[in-house]
Structures are given as structure tokens and as C-alpha cells.
């Protein structure tokens, strides 16, 4: 449904998006990650026909943004970064405007507006000027105008940025609810959000694509994926570090800072080793007093940093 081919954008000598290609199919929720200035918003602006690519193109629902921008725009619902809205308008008048531009009129227009208003819970502020609304409501008005025409493709640039935890939850629930039958591309700086709502994650850094996979794959890139963190009473386990290192399934042991009287370690497994079982048995056999044992899932922040800084240092 979305096919991005060698998409490139230059601002003067500066390359903001550098030869990015990927495709997104119906039903996918794609999380777009990357450090500040990576080129996420620029990519979205090209995808939605706002900016013309320097090279390459994007095909959305069979239409090329370069040659048929209007057809592309008709198929896309877009929430720009920061959800810009006309401050003098009310949510109702703004939604009417967008609905009319998108070809709705009369009762069908009003019906459709009622539906999205109910979906994003805007009833209480419909007649209030947008500039007087809270950030959460503004964002919801932005979302409402994006989903008004029930588009096949939704592009959301940081839809939960600056929202409180409840609002974030609501927006994510809404995205999940709409996901089947659509293509949704959203950018975010919240890595957990990708796991919660996305079926796929793409990371770009300095305009280049440097990761493309499922959120689980993303997590498993972590050094800490399946590592075991362990805390024992020091008096019962004087030479714990050396002892643990001798274990067959342990690749390396890292000593962690810990509270008085306890020792903490991070154990990294060898390939395919069932580390936690071995460690558990070992601790039991040695008679160490166990305070804490935990299988790490992998740290998203670490992966993110590794991937994006790795990409940066190869420049």
C-alpha cells in the first residue's frame, strides 16, 4: 500500500533523508524511530505530498506522489508534527472545513463528523476556539481531522508527544482499534510505545535506514536480551563472580553496583543456552542466599543507542 523507493531529500548541501526504501502493507502499524533530526518528519512530509523529494518517490495506494499528489493526499490522513490547527476556528468548524474539502456534504458530512467526534471524545469542546484548548484536546482535534475520511493510510507524526499518560493510553487504544484494514505509520520517541502498538519498527539515523524488523527483533538486538540479573547475599557467596564465570552457559559476568551486604551480577548467556535454569540450580547447589533473580528482556534504550550511534560513527 505504501512503497517508498530511494526516497531522498536534500536541503541545500545537507541531506536530511538519504536513499530510504521500504514497503508497508495493509494491517501493519509501522513505528518510525530515530534521534532528533534523523529525518522522520521530513520522510513523512514527502510521503504526504507536502515536500517534493529530491530523488526517489513514494507510491501510496497505487499513486505516485510526484505525479499524482492529489490522489495520494485523498487517500492519506495526516497528523503533522505538533498538530498545527487554525487557532481561531472551533473544532466543529475545522472538521466541517476538512470534511468539505474531502468531498463530504450535507447530512453525510454531519454524520461523519459526529462519528469521529465520538471516537476521539471531542463533544465537550466542539464550540470552543481551538487556541483555548488544552494540548490533549488539540491533539485529538488533529487526530479527528486525520481520520475523518476513514483513510486507507494514516500518517501520524508524534501522535502522543506531550500528552499525559491517560491521554497517551487513549491515543494508543484508538490507533490499535483502527489498525486492521489500514496502513498506519507513526513516529515516536517512546520506545515502549512501539512494542505496545506497532507490528513493525523502522529506525533511521542521519537520514539512513538502519533497522527494520518487528519490535521483538528490535529488543533481541539488545546485549541484555535473555541475560540474567542476579543478586545474592555476599556472606553466603564470597567468590560468586569467579564461580559464576565457570558455569558453562555463561559467556561473561558483569558486576553491578549493589546495596551493602549483597552482590549483584549481570550474566550474559552463550548462544542458545538456557541460562536461568542453570543459574538457579547453581545458586541452589552452592547454598547462596538469593535476593533477586530476573531474566532481562533486553533494553530498548540500549539497542536504540547502539543502532543509531553505530550508524552515526560510520559516517
Amino acid at each position: 500500500m505504501i512503497e517508498i523507493r530511494n526516497l531522498t531529500k536534500k536541503f541545500g548541501p545537507f541531506t536530511a533523508v538519504d536513499d530510504i526504501s521500504f514497503t508497508v502493507e495493509q494491517g501493519e502499524v509501522l513505528g518510525f524511530l530515530g534521534p532528533n533530526g534523523a529525518g522522520k518528519s521530513t520522510t513523512m512530509k514527502m510521503l504526504t505530498g507536502f515536500l517534493a523529494p529530491t530523488h526517489g518517490t513514494a507510491i501510496v495506494c497505487g499513486h505516485d506522489v510526484r505525479t499524482e499528489p492529489r490522489a495520494v493526499k485523498a487517500n492519506i490522513g495526516y497528523l503533522p508534527e505538533g498538530a498545527p490547527l487554525y487557532p481561531d476556528m472551533t473544532p466543529l468548524s475545522l472538521l466541517r472545513f476538512v470534511a468539505e474539502i474531502r468531498g463530504y456534504s450535507g447530512t453525510r458530512r454531519n454524520q461523519r463528523i459526529d462519528e469521529v467526534v465520538a471516537l476521539v471524545h471531542l463533544e465537550s469542546v466542539l464550540h470552543q476556539r481551538i487556541e483555548t484548548l488544552s494540548k490533549g484536546f488539540k491533539r485529538r482535534v488533529g487526530l479527528a481531522q486525520a481520520i475523518l475520511h476513514d483513510p486507507e493510510v494514516l500518517i501520524l507524526d508524534e501522535p502522543t508527544d506531550g500528552l499525559d499518560p491517560n491521554q497517551k493510553h487513549d491515543v494508543r487504544a484508538l490507533i490499535k482499534q483502527m489498525a486492521p484494514g489500514k496502513v498506519i505509520v507513526l513516529s515516536t520517541h517512546i520506545l515502549e510505545e512501539v512494542e505496545q502498538v506497532c507490528t513493525r519498527a523502522i529506525i533511521i539515523a542521519e537520514g539512513r535506514l538502519c533497522f527494520d524488523g518487528t519490535p521483538e527483533e528490535f529488543r533481541s538486538e539488545s546485549r541484555h536480551h535473555h541475560a540474567v540479573s542476579l543478586t545474592v547475599k555476599t556472606e553466603t557467596a564470597p567468590d560468586a563472580a569467579q564461580a559464576l564465570e565457570s558455569l558453562e552457559s555463561v559467556a561473561t559476568v558483569e558486576v553491578l553496583p549493589s546495596a551493602n551486604g549483597t552482590s549483584s551480577f549481570m550474566l550474559f548467556p552463550r548462544e542458545n543456552a538456557s541460562l536461568v535454569r542453570d543459574v538457579n540450580r547453581f545458586v541452589h547447589d552452592k547454598g547462596w542466599e538469593l535476593e533477586h533473580l530476573h531474566v532481562e528482556q533486553g533494553r530498548l534504550d540500549d539497542v536504540f543507542r547502539e543502532i543509531t550511534q553505530g550508524a552515526a560513527s560510520t559516517v
Binding site: K73, G82, Y86
Partner: protein, 243 residues
């Protein structure tokens, strides 16, 4: 066409959504009254016409039109709503023309409110209403020219104050290019250049219309000027929208 109409409606509604519109209308009416009845010396002239009323329109517009046009694109770019507008399924021309027509229509509303002065002269005497109608047509055309220039300049900056100042200067240029004093400065230039300068003067064309003759040349001048600047306007928006 339909898209232009929808943009037009939103824009025109936008003018009346803020107090700015009412301030503009009141200032416009007061100033045009002051110019006509006092500075223009309506009573001393002892003539039932609106010559003095129209005489000052270029100057009235010089101050007021840039105030109206400065926000047309500058504000759209500053607040980022341009991204909202231009990712809706419309062509650039719809947005540019819709915005322009809304501003023009707003000036039309202001101008329509001055019909009280028209009624007054009809009450006081027997003016040539044909000339007055021509005056209104000329005034609208001139306002359209100023607005097209202002809209175009507004697309170049995110700062409304800068847009205002540059528009005033540009409009002043178009007014003054017909002044003998200005033309004298060009005496060294070849004749065709002087003629060209004169032919770009709003004053020359406006004065011709207010004499009561709506000449095709003056009509063509203003309409082609409007079309030209709106075209440049679209090009500027396209160039500057990303910044």
C-alpha cells in the same frame, strides 16, 4: 472550483472570527470619511460627486491593504497550518485563489459600507452615478492589485511585520511610479522606460477609471497584474513552505 470556494469560505469566516476584522472596518470607514469630508474639502468644493472620496483611496489602501494581506501566508507558515492545508487534496491554485478572493471580498464589504457616502451625495445633490459606479469598480480593481502583491510578499516571510513593511514599500512603488516628480527622475532613461514606468502606476489607471470611463486597457492592466502576482505567489509558497 469547489475547493476554491471551500477555502474562500473558511478564510472569509476567519476574518470575522477575530476583532481584527471589525477594527479594520471601523478604521477604514473613519479614514475614508475623514479624507472625503475634511481633508478633501468636500463642502468647499461645493460639488455633488465622490471625486475626493476616490482621490484618496490609493493612500487609504497603502496603509490598510498590507495590514490585511500580511497574515495571509506568513501566519499560515509560522503556525505550521500550511502543512495541514497543503496536505488536503487541493491544488496550490485553489489555496492561493481562495485566500485572495476572501481578502478581496472582505475589502468589498468595507467598500460596500461606504455606500452611506454615496447616498449622502445623492441626498445633497445630483451626482453622476455612472461615474461613481466606475469609481467603485476602479477602487475594487486597485484593491485587488494591492492584495495580490501583498499576498505574494506574505508568502516570503513568516514574520507579519516584515510582510507589512515590504508590502507598503512595494505598493508605494506602484503608486508613485506615475508621479511626474518620480518620472522626472528617470529623464536620463529612454522614453520607452519612462512610459513603462508610468504604465505600471496604479494612480494612472485608477484615475482613468474614476473619470468614468472603464477602458479595456485599465481592466487588462489590473487583472493581468493580479493574475501575475498570484502566480508568483503560488511559486513562492511552493519554494518557502518547507522552511
Amino acid at each position: 472550483m469547489k475547493q476554491t470556494w471551500i477555502v474562500f469560505k473558511r478564510e472569509l469566516g476567519g476574518y470575522f472570527a477575530t476583532p481584527v476584522a471589525y477594527v479594520f472596518l471601523v478604521v477604514y470607514l473613519i479614514l475614508s470619511g475623514v479624507f472625503t469630508w475634511y481633508i478633501g474639502g468636500f463642502y468647499e468644493r461645493d460639488q455633488a460627486d465622490l471625486q475626493t472620496f476616490f482621490l484618496y483611496h490609493p493612500w487609504l489602501y497603502l496603509a490598510l491593504i498590507p495590514a490585511l494581506s500580511m497574515r495571509m501566508w506568513a501566519e499560515e507558515r509560522r503556525s505550521g497550518t500550511i502543512e495541514l492545508l497543503l496536505t488536503l487534496p487541493i491544488e496550490m491554485a485553489h489555496a492561493v485563489v481562495g485566500k485572495f478572493l476572501a481578502a478581496w471580498c472582505f475589502v468589498g464589504v468595507a467598500l460596500a459600507l461606504t455606500t452611506t457616502e454615496w447616498l449622502t451625495v445623492n441626498y445633497l445633490g445630483e451626482p453622476d452615478n455612472g461615474i461613481i459606479v466606475a469609481g467603485y469598480v476602479g477602487s475594487m480593481l486597485m484593491a485587488g492589485g494591492f492584495l495580490a502583491i501583498g499576498s505574494c510578499i506574505s508568502a516570503l516571510t513568516k514574520n507579519q511585520v516584515i510582510a507589512f513593511v515590504i508590502t507598503v514599500v512595494a505598493c508605494l512603488g506602484f503608486i508613485l511610479s506615475g508621479f511626474p516628480a518620480v518620472l522626472d527622475m528617470f529623464q536620463w532613461a529612454p522614453e520607452f522606460l519612462i512610459e513603462a514606468t508610468r504604465s505600471f502606476s496604479f494612480l494612472t489607471h485608477f484615475a482613468a477609471i474614476t473619470r468614468g470611463v472603464i477602458d479595456a486597457r485599465d481592466l487588462v492592466f489590473f487583472t493581468s497584474l493580479i493574475v501575475f502576482f498570484l502566480y508568483i505567489n503560488a511559486v513562492f509558497v511552493d519554494l518557502k513552505k518547507a522552511d
